[in-house]
């Protein structure tokens, strides 16, 4: 390249131009070798296929090569199939959004903000088991037993519709159609239409009169009855993907009754603050400070 750099680019001949430009070529970065190795190791370690007895012919002739590649393709397809089918599917609704997901059996799950379900895709119709973190509404088509596991309790149903709330130390289940069975470590309950239970200490207690439908959140409405301010704030944080500054004890003792919609943050804050005699300030757009009105 050295001999070419004394002239302006335009005056170089075509071969020199090609020489310069091709010597500057490189391959895009992509993932690092270490990352690639990590991914490969994960695949190898989860691999459960028994070793296929494949013969590699060292011969260079066309036929053995053909068989070798054909067999290679088959092995890859089988291995990929087995690994894929073992894969666990995860569906996550991030903060500030809801997701409606249809499962392989036709059942639907509405995921509230900051909630996640996990399940094995392989033969889901035969083994309808889902792991839930957060809040979700399930509309289950009839078929084999459907189980929702949370870390506090599990719900077993045939064909029905129910809402599960499993966040922090709160666990509640509302049945909207059909019949569900709720099991926790120490207690269990059978719910029919319009019944609900929540975990209080170690036992399941019936939820009396609900203010608003337990699945109003699907419509973007959030109802609270005499709920600690902290619980309300956490829901606002989830729905609008914002954060609040830590509230002092005096505020933490306040209880809120009412509902807000996830359409407008300002309106929601007004609805929460006004009856409690509070005002709010937003710093940097995302950190909300609540304080008593003077």
């Amino acid at each position: 390249m050295k001999e070419t750099i004394n002239k302006p680019f335009g005056e170089l001949d075509i071969e020199q131009k090609i020489q310069i430009c091709t010597s500057a070529l490189s391959v895009p970065q992509g993932i690092s070798k270490e990352e690639a190795f990590k991914r490969l190791s994960e695949k190898i370690d989860t691999e459960t296929v028994s070793q296929p007895s494949l013969r590699i012919s060292k011969g260079k002739h066309a036929i053995s090569r053909f068989f070798y590649s054909a067999a290679a393709i088959v092995v890859i397809l089988i291995a990929c199939g087995v690994i894929m089918s073992m894969l666990t599917k995860t569906v996550t609704a991030p903060r500030g959004s809801h997701i409606e997901y249809t499962l392989a059996d036709g059942s639907t799950v509405n995921l509230n903000s900051d909630s996640q379900i996990k399940f094995k895709k392989y033969r889901f119709n035969k083994n309808r088991t889902i792991k839930l973190e957060g809040e979700a509404y399930f509309y289950i088509t009839s078929g084999k037993t459907f189980t929702v596991n949370t870390y506090m309790g599990s719900i077993t149903v045939l064909g029905t519709a129910f809402n599960v709330y499993a966040r922090d130390n709160n666990f509640s289940v509302n049945c909207l159609r059909g019949k569900v069975r709720v099991d926790t470590k120490d207690s269990s309950a059978i719910l029919t239409k319009d019944q609900g239970v929540e975990l209080s200490g170690n036992v399941l207690k019936e939820i009396k009169e609900e203010n608003g439908s337990p699945i109003s959140w699907i419509e973007g409405e959030f109802f609270f009855e005499n709920a600690p301010l902290k619980k309300v704030i956490v829901e606002v944080e989830r729905q609008f993907n914002v954060t609040f500054a830590e509230i002092n004890n005096q505020l933490a003792n306040k209880n809120f009754t009412g509902s807000f919609s996830n359409q407008s943050l300002d309106i929601a804050l007004d609805i929460i603050c006004t009856p409690l005699g509070l005002e709010y300030e937003t710093n940097n757009g995302h950190n909300i400070v609540l304080k008593e009105r003077d």
Partner: protein
């Protein structure tokens, strides 16, 4: 000795990952696809580890990767996009020079896209990976003569595509 253990496999990965990925990249022009195919190639290598002869590992890897490529992406359209780094060049400070190079570089990229896949792969293995003809021949299980032929075809093609003034 036939068969390799995990440590030997890791060593092979370490030695050959980048080479195989680049090789597939020259064919597909898609770095993510190249990474996927390379993953599959090594996964496959692991599956058949009991039958592997360490001595032939080099050409085996290239053959496997090539088959994997043919199997998966032979029919998709190639859009190569290389990264170019001209910072080493003394003229790079002049905006005029940069513009001229950039313009030429765009034409070079599209010429590479049009080039026959076999010629392009060998040409780029020589230009980007800095491999000797003999080394390329060994890896691909071809003769040095064949490599020379492909490279001169590639060069002639580029010259023809790029000497036409627009």
């Amino acid at each position: 000795m036939i068969g390799i253990n995990r440590a030997e496999f890791n060593k092979i990965f370490d030695d050959w990952y980048i080479h195989i990925r680049n090789f597939i990249y020259y064919k597909t022009g898609d770095i993510e696809k190249a990474e996927d195919i390379t993953q599959d190639t090594f996964l496959k290598l692991w599956e058949i580890r009991q039958q592997i002869d360490q001595k032939t590992i080099k050409s085996l890897l290239y053959t496997m990767a090539n088959n994997m490529y043919l199997n998966e992406v032979a029919h998709s359209k190639v859009v190569l996009k290389f990264e170019s780094d001209y910072s080493m060049n003394p003229y790079s400070s002049s905006p005029e020079y940069e513009m001229e190079v950039k313009e030429f570089d765009n034409r070079l990229q599209s010429a590479l896209n049009k080039m026959d896949e076999k010629n392009r792969t060998v040409y780029l293995m020589s230009r980007i990976d800095d491999l000797t003809y003999q080394e390329i021949a060994q890896r691909l299980g071809l003769t040095v003569k064949a490599i020379e032929k492909r490279i001169s075809k590639a060069k002639a093609f580029l010259k023809e595509e790029l000497s036409v003034d627009i």
